[in-house]
Structure formats: C-alpha cells, structure tokens
Amino acid sequence: MPDEILLDAHEVRRSFPKPGGGELLVLDGVELTLKQGEIVGLLGRSGSGKSTFLRLIAGLAQPQGGTLSYLGKKIEGPANGIAMVFQSFALFPWLTVLENVQLGLEALSIPQSEIRTRALAAIDLIGLDGYESAYPRELSGGMRQRVGFARAMVVHPNILLMDEPFSALDVLTAENLRTDFLELWGEKQLPIKGVILVTHNIEEAVLMCDRVLLFSTNPGRIAGEIKIDIPRPRDRTDPRFEHYVEQIYTEMTARQRALRADRGTGLDMLMTHVSPNLVSGLIEAVAASPYNGKADLPDIASDLQLEIDELFPVAEALQMLRLGELEGGDIKLTHMGKRFADGEMNERKEIFSRALMSHVPLAAHIRRVLDERTSHTAPKRRFVDELEDHMTEDAAEETLRTVVSWARFGELFSYDDESESFSLENPT
C-alpha cells in the first residue's frame, strides 16, 4: 500500500496550567497526515511547539484536545513502531554501543539471540562496525548520533521521529550524516516507512523533506505548508533549491508580520530577549558590503552562520525599533538604522535610546515614572503587576528582561537586580 496513512493528527491542542490559574496554550489546531514513504519537516522557531508536538506523537505526553492516531489507533502512550532520534543523542553512558542499540529490543519480547543479530545488523547498516564495544564517551558527536539512529532503527519502526538530530553537530559532520541518511532512505535500505523531522534550519528542511509544515508561535499553529518538488539527491546550488529556501523565508517573515499585530502595540507588547550586541551586529552586517543596506535573509543567515531561530528574533527587534524593515524575505535598514551603523558608540546609544522612547511603550513608560518620582526610583514589582494584566507571568518576566537589557545599552535607565528596582542614576 503506497498511500497508507501512518499517522493522523487532527485539531491537536496542548496547554500547560499556569501557576496563577488559567492555562498557557502551546499548540492549537494542529493537523498533520503522514503517508508511507514521506519525510515531513516541522519548521519553526523555538517556542513554536514543534518539539512538543513531536513528544505528543511519541506518546511522551498527552494532548488536551483533538486526536492523534497511529495506523488508525489512538496514541495513548509510547507505541511500538514509533522510534525517536534525539537532539543530544540521549545515549546511556553506562552502556556500550551494542548495549545501547540492543536496549531498543529488550522491552519487546524477542529472544536474546535475535536481539543480538538485529542489533549488529543495525550497527552495520548505519556504519558503526567495529565500535560495538565502545562507550558513548569514547565517540565523537557524529558517531554518537549514528548510535542514536541505529537504536531507533533496530526496532524497525514505521515512523521515525527526529528532534533536531543534526543541530548538536558541527556543520561538516551534520552534512555527512544527512547525506548518509538520505542515501540509505533513497535506496530503501532503512527499515522505516515515514519520517517526521523537527528542525529550525531552513536549508536542512528543503534538503531532506517532501513537505515542510511551517509553525507559527504563541500558540503553535501550522501556518503554511510547502511541498518540496525536487528529485533526490538534491543539490544546494540548484536554483530550484534556492527558490524554495527563499520562499520559506518570505512566508515566515510574512507570518511574523501578521503576528506582530497580535503581540500588541502598547504595554501589552510582548518582547523576546535579544542582546543589543546582536542588534548592532546585524545592523553592521547589513550596512556593510555586499549588502549595503539591504540583505536577502537566507544569504545573510548563512553569512553570519545564524539559524532562523537566532536570526528572526534579531531581525524582529530591528523592525520593532524601526531600525530596519522586513519585507519579502529581505531585511532593509531604515534611515535611523543607517545612521546607527555609521555612528560612534555614543551616537549609537542615543539613537537606540530614542528608538526605545518612541517605539517601545514599556520603556517609555518606565522612564516617565522614574522622571516623575522625586526619588527617581521604582520597584520592579510595580511594572510586573502592570504587565501581568496583559500577559502571562513568564512573558512579563521575559519582556521586562528585554527592556532592562535594551535600556542599559541605551542608558535610558538602570536596574539593580539585588534590590529589584529601577533608577535613573548610573552607578559610579
């Protein structure tokens, strides 16, 4: 059956209880169908719930709503036939390579002799011959992840779940492992029928997947789907490849702009912490040649070796401060952005501080309160309370942390963590 449906997710919802009551929604209305012979990518930024979704499929957690079924049966816990490869390998350090791989079979009632043969076969397949008696700590990262693959493969799963399996590896090793995996997959040598890959690396998604689902944040939803229609093996320099990468960037920035409206414009504006150094760094990079003020996101991402997880928040910070604009997968510096790039440290701080006053309501609010008070100090609690009217406790904490960090850079006001208070005076 070539079109057999391996996995079906319908209207999946997942939330966590908040400490102060209520619930925090992390996944909402997620739909996914995995057919035999497919590699489906889940692409999104951290916090988009894609890893949470993978854990639901693995049966490691239960959804609060919707249905998840594997081969037509509801998933109620870890199921036979769904195996997982982990980001940091999750190998048991006290077991040898062979024992780690065998572990996958020991929970199934299989005779010991068969366990051994199958484990050796999996080790052989994945290119770990000769390492059977080694302990994980003796292996390099790439070799360790191979053990992770062998351990998942040895149970002959129908579905292989991969949770950012290459992100803990260096560039070269990761590419080597991806190619080997795709080769085995292409030759139908792997005892698996379908793959779900969680990633935040756009090129990896285009290289490996038949379909890519784009996740948006807060809460995680599927914001779009892109079918990658390039025959394998794929070539990163192929214009079609570049086209898909570009398309995903464009879609993702468009989504974020649409989302911006949800994030509020006043005190309810949610902020993700980004270091001012990264903001300066990105402005400088965009201002410099060859970009000269306008850069293609994929290009600058690969130039700066930033993954979307890292690049997008910085780009958004630029946009929030009106130092840059995001449009159609491009980032463009505004007039102030260019002045920032040309300026000396003091001028930069001033531009940054003015941008905070005009475009970050919370920063302006805190400054005004401090100006009005005769003591020029105010406790943090006051602003946390205000923020929590609009957002969750964690989001308030993160937003405030961001404002503190930016205000320190712009020298707008200072903050003392020990007494948890804001003040206007700068420590001498």
């Binding site: 854990r55 490691l60 870890p78 982990f86 999750a90 048991f92 572990l103 929970a107």
Partner: protein
C-alpha cells in the same frame, strides 16, 4: 552542584601510602599523649553541675539559645580551620601529602573519642571555672563539624578552573586577592552545603558534647543536650517531647536566618552554567539586600579588604610563587627529618602504652567487637539503601515532591538518637528483644538520609532526553530500574553511602548503649566498648577503642568505598 564524599578520594590506589601510615601514627600518638596526660593530671573538679538542670520547659528557650550559640561558635572555628587547613593542604604540595591523609584519619576518629581525651585538658586550662567546660563542648561540636567542611573546600580548591586563576594573575592579583576573590567564591556553594550537613551532625551529638561524663569528671552545661540527658535520667517523657519541639524551632530558625540566606546568596557563585529552573530565595536575604544598612556596615570592611589586595607582598606574587613550586632539596630534608622525629616520638608513645597496660588479648577483643559493629553497619547501610534508593528515585523524578521532602529529611538527619532511647528501651524491655538487633536501627537514624539526599539529587540530574528515550524504547519495570534509574543515580548513591557509612560508625557510640532512667539496653560492639570505657574513665581502653574504630573506618573506606567511587565515576557519571 556536585557533592563529593567527605573522605579522601584522591588516589585510586588501594594500599596505604607511607603518608597514610605516618598520618595514622601521628593521630594515634596525639591521642595517646592526651590520654596519658588526662589520666595523670590531677582531676581538677569532679562536678560542675552543682545546680542540676531543671526540666521545666520554661528554661528551654534559654537552653536553646546557649546550645545554638555554642554551635555557632564551633561553626566559626570550623570555618577558620577549613579556610586555613584546606588551603594549606591544597597549596603546598609538601604539606598536602601529609595533611590530606591526616584529615582522612581525623574524620574517622569518633567524636566521643575527641571529647574523652581532651576534656580533662580543657578543664585544666581554667581550673574551677565553667570556661574550660565550655571550651570542651565547643571543641566537641567542632570535631563533629570541621572535617567534611575542610574536605569540601580542599576539593574545590583543587578544581578551580585554570582559566580563572590565569585571569586573576593577568589582572595582577596577588595570592591573597586570588584567594578571596576567586578561590573562596568558587568553593562556597559546596562549602555551605557541607556547613548544613555539619550542623546536622552537631545536633546529632548534642547530648554528647554538653553532658560530658568521663570517669569521675562529669559536666552538664546548660543546653538542650544536657536537658535531654537529664530527661533520660529522670525518665521524663514530657521533657523529651519539649526537647524535640525546642530543637525543631532552633533548627527552623537556623535554616531561615542563616542557611537559607547563605544558600540564596551563594547561588551567584555557582560556576556551572546550567540554568536552573528556580533560584533559591530567602526573605531574610531580600531584606538585607534592600536595606542600605548592611551596605554601610560592610563598607569599611570592603575598603579594608581592597586595601589588603593592593599590598603586594613580593614573596606571594605570581612569578616568585611559580619559581617556588620547585621544592628545594634542603627544605625537603629538614621537613622529612622533622616528620621522622615526631613520627618516632609518636610511635614510642604508642608503644609504651601498648607495652605497659594493654595485652594482645585486649587488641583482639577490640577487633572482634569492631567486626560486630562492622557487620551491623554493613547490614543497616544495605537495608537503608534498599529502602531509600527507590524512594529517592521516585522523589527525584518529581521536583514538586523533592521540594517538600528535602527539608524534612534535613531535620530528621539532625534528630539525635538519644531522643529515641525511651522508645527503644521500652520496646526492647516490653517485647524482650535482643538488644544486639533491636538497637541497631539507631545507628542509621541520622545517617540514612544522606543516601536519600544524594539519590534524589542523582535522579533529578538524569536529563529529560534520557528519560524520554527510555519511555520511547518502552523500558518499564525491572528493565527500567536496571538499565536507566539505578545506573543513573549510582555515582550519587555512592557518595551518599560513603557519608552514611562513616556517620554510622560514629553514631554506634550513642546507638549501642541506650538507657532510660535506670534501665539500660546494651548491644555488643565497638561503640558500646568506647562508650563504656569513657564512662569508666579507662583511658587505655578509650585509646584502643578509638584506634580500632579509626582502623576499621579507614580500611573500609580504602578497600571498599574508594574503589567503588572510582568505578562509579568511570562507568556511570553522566557528562
């Protein structure tokens, strides 16, 4: 934060080095010297307890205050000892080779041993006055607190990252400045944890250190410990409950006013970059931080310290100390000669004691009793492990439970065995049980919790991904315990078991003889032997008992725990 066992785990070798032997000879010689002096000194005052302690609970707050002051003073002394002794051991290669084994022997000496051989000496310091007795009590508490703290700080000093040291040198800090600004902060979090452990140890032996009774010398210093002792003599069950209550209150106050603020404050010195989910908090620390008063009080001290950092003592500057690292031949010879001299003297003292009044039969008898106590410790640690390891794993996997259990276990670790004497004696007499068996659980009363603490820490340190992988592979039941949980907590368990085992030997002295009024239940064992010898004031037997116990503790540590520790580190440490 990693907690290391409070014994020397430095070398992987099994056989004692000549330094171990020398350290043992020196400690034993010191004990003999004091014991000899004690038995010959004119007994200065037979009784300091002219006015007996009152069991009226109205006196308890006052007693509690006195006891906690003594503990605080002893803790301060322990801190001074830690900062000097451990630093010397870590900094000077020459001294370290002797000081570390010495510390290892000292921690094996039972607390009652220290008390019984030094009390006469302390009393003779100020004949006829209470001051000597107070000194003896503080010293007793000190011996129950200092060793593990010193070990902890020594181990921290040895593992200060080279980068930090180099950064310090690059900024031109002298050794003094590096000590206060790099080494002490780096070693502080584990040191504070050990101070809390020490405090529990101090409470466990609170009666021993306040109600001192060696031969004809009896002291009952006003305090909770003496109150408990008196309540036991008087068979006053109400007083026992009052004492438990008072202890609970004092431990809570200590926790809130001293340890919690310290832990929260020292959190900034944690060097591991793992972002813990929650930071320790303390309302006391918040108050201190928000008020400017503390800043003002501390300011002159800061100015003074900064001034001392700037004084560069030429001898201590980086370059010279690097040159000093090459030991000079002449100093080696002088140092070696000195050690041989005092070693020989110690040997002679030991020999004259052995030859004079102890026969080989006495030695074999003590060894036999030691074997009985060892059997008891082994069985009880095994039992405690079987009980607490699964519970610890269960709790450690559930952070909300761990938060509740930890402080409770900490209080239980401080619970003195004497407080259970009424219950123990009552059960033994009523059911006519064999004291050899029935008294044994008292030995692990305070020490079993270290197994629980450490296993909880170990279980919560198993990474979430690893646990997910285990669920994904559908490991369940015994397979899960065998392949995931037990190996995962094993290194932590070993640390806990080493601590518990050492503590149980020490506790055998209070646990093998239990009395309630005129009823006494007595088990056979080395602890009872030492306790009886102390009551009788027989210094030769005291020395023999102490030496035998140290011997057992050190041998068990070297032959069993140390190899197990390294095996666990090699095989099971999660990195």
């Amino acid at each position: 934060m990693r907690i290391l066992p409070p014994v020397s785990i430095e070398a992987r070798r099994l056989l004692p080095s000549r330094w171990d032997v020398l350290a043992a000879v020196l400690v034993l010689g010191f004990i003999v010297l004091f014991a000899d002096a004690s038995s010959t000194l004119v007994r200065p005052l037979s009784s300091l307890s002219q006015h007996r302690l009152s069991l009226d609970p109205i006196n308890l707050p006052g007693y509690a205050l006195l006891t906690s002051m003594r503990m605080l003073i002893a803790l301060a002394f322990s801190l001074v000892f830690t900062l000097t002794y451990a630093t010397w051991a870590a900094k000077s290669q020459r001294a370290g080779t002797l000081l570390v084994p010495l510390l290892d022997i000292l921690q094996s000496v039972p607390i009652l041993g220290f008390i019984s051989i030094t009390v006469v000496f302390f009393l003779s310091l100020s004949p006829g006055r209470i001051f000597g007795a107070e000194l003896a009590a503080v010293f007793a508490i000190f011996t129950s607190q200092a060793w593990n703290m010193a070990f902890s700080f020594y181990q921290s000093l040895r593992t200060v990252p080279e980068e930090l040291q180099e950064a310090g040198r690059m900024f031109g800090m002298n050794a003094w400045a590096r000590f206060w600004r790099i080494e002490v902060p780096f070693g502080l979090p584990p040191l504070i944890w050990n101070m809390m452990m020490s405090m529990s140890g101090g409470w466990f032996f609170v009666t021993l250190s306040e109600a001192i009774s060696v031969g004809h010398t009896t002291i009952a210093l006003p305090g909770i410990g003496s109150y408990i002792a008196e309540a036991i003599v008087e068979k006053d069950l109400h007083a026992i409950f009052w004492a438990i209550g008072a202890m609970l209150v004092v431990i809570l106050i200590y926790d809130q006013l001293l340890f919690r603020p310290l832990v929260a404050w020292a959190d900034r010195f944690r060097f591991d970059n793992e972002d813990s989910e929650e930071y320790p908090e303390s309302w006391v620390l918040d108050i201190i931080r928000r008020s400017t008063l503390m800043d003002r009080i501390a300011e002159p001290f800061h100015i003074f310290m900064r001034w001392t950092y700037r004084r560069s003592i030429p001898l201590r500057s980086g370059i010279v100390s690097a040159a000093r690292a090459v030991p000079s031949r002449a100093t080696d010879i002088v140092w070696g000669g000195f050690l041989i001299l005092i070693g020989t003297y110690a040997l002679w003292r030991i020999y004259s004691l052995l030859a004079g009044s102890l026969s080989w039969n006495d030695v074999f008898y003590a060894l036999g009793l030691g074997a009985i106590t060892m059997l008891r410790v082994t069985i009880l640690i095994a039992l405690a492990s079987v009980v607490w390891t699964p519970i610890g794993v269960y709790v450690g996997m559930r952070p909300h439970l761990a938060r509740i259990i930890q402080p409770v276990a900490q209080f239980l670790a401080a619970f003195p065995a004497n407080l259970l004497f009424p219950l123990a004696v009552f059960i033994i007499v009523r059911l006519s049980l064999n004291p050899d068996i029935a008294l044994s659980p008292l030995m692990v009363l305070g020490t079993q919790w270290y197994i629980l603490f450490n296993v909880i820490a170990g279980a919560s340190a198993i990474p979430r991904e690893l646990r997910d992988a285990a669920s994904n592979l559908q490991l369940k039941g015994w397979l899960w315990w065998r392949k995931v949980a037990l190996p995962g907590v094993f290194p932590y368990y070993v640390t806990g078991a080493i601590t518990a085992s050492g503590g149980s030997w020490n506790a055998s002295i209070v646990a093998e003889v239990a009395s309630w009024g005129n009823q006494t239940a007595r088990a056979h064992g080395l602890g009872a032997y030492i306790a009886d010898a102390t009551t009788a004031g027989d210094f030769h037997k005291i020395v023999l008992g102490i030496a035998t116990m140290s011997f057992f503790v050190v041998v068990v540590n070297r032959l069993f725990w140390r190899p197990l520790y390294w095996f666990a580190e090699r095989r099971y440490r999660l990195t």
